[in-house]
Assembly symmetry: C2
Amino acid sequence: MYQKELQKDFQELLPFWKSISSHSQETLINHSEPVTFPPGTAMHAGGEECSGLFLVLEGRVRAYIVTEQGKEITLFRLLSRDICIFSASCIMKNISFDVFVSAETEVKAIRIPAQCYNEITDSELAVAKYTNELLSSRMSDVMWVLEEIVFTSFDKRLAHFLLEEGELEESDVLTITHEQIANHLGSAREVVSRMLRYFANEGFVKAERGSIRLLDKEGLEAI
Amino acid sequence: MYQKELQKDFQELLPFWKSISSHSQETLINHSEPVTFPPGTAMHAGGEECSGLFLVLEGRVRAYIVTEQGKEITLFRLLSRDICIFSASCIMKNISFDVFVSAETEVKAIRIPAQCYNEITDSELAVAKYTNELLSSRMSDVMWVLEEIVFTSFDKRLAHFLLEEGELEESDVLTITHEQIANHLGSAREVVSRMLRYFANEGFVKAERGSIRLLDKEGLEAI
């Protein structure tokens, strides 16, 4: 059975674990389950369903919003040890926006049902306070995106995105299409392609078949 | 003394009031104070100081962010019965952005010191849960701004802003400069002026000395 593993992971990864009652601990262990998502699959598709909270063990998760026209913008990424609360937005009062969550790489995670988390929040101050910290942290991410979009020109945003992507992939060759970049940045494919041609002319990057090679990272940083 | 008044206002406006201990109630009453801000004054200037929470009794409050270049963008407005938590962001872990708060009209409010709110949050589950609701609600506001900026063209945003301003002022004549509108929308004065000339040509608005008259609200809504 996986309960023993869960207990070990919770103990290590949930800061409130030691502060809650053994009854609450058991509730969490008995209702949560390990889940695996192949790369590119949806973990949570907007507000309708209530997928629960995901505690990420391995892999990379992307949270984003989608417009009626199908345009996307990335809000934040979650890595190992992070917890995704917006896939359980049904339990939060006053949340009036839809966040989509998908696995960028293969993701191993623990799913905590929304109802279960809600239940222990109702009796455990430590969990309610932890939720405050989670919300503040994600809000800071979103504010960062907002500031970047409003106040940063597109060349800076694209340069920053390429550098960050290089770090996440731990490689100077990024396997990503112009369309995908446009979705991350809430822009259009044509705008991305035009800026990448400019970057290539300046010798910062080289476009290759289905990928982008970072040639001059210092040049990109200088932008 | 104003303590009796405070108790009455807290009882009416703080949803958690009845759920907390009389000790916590007394702490809140003894440390909070009524405050008045003239129109246009700063209630909280970014992250450095920790001004405390403001419970708005009368008037209109604006929360916004500011860039290094001095550009502004409005995040949300608070009216009577709303509570401003970002003026106490020092007590929140993981908040890494600066929100500025100012009085748009004369504002009467109750100031709850950050330390005092923090103290009762440490022992009162109802307060921690209320903070979650506040954070979720403000996060929804910010997401709305983000979506509007990313996905809505500037003509729509300006039309929406003028209509909203008309409702807030309860008048079809808005006393506001192009510069101020630009600050609300994170844009430049020139861009606002150009779009207002277009709106005037279409007969939606009329520019007057130091003000803007809304002539065709249905036309603006149609945008």
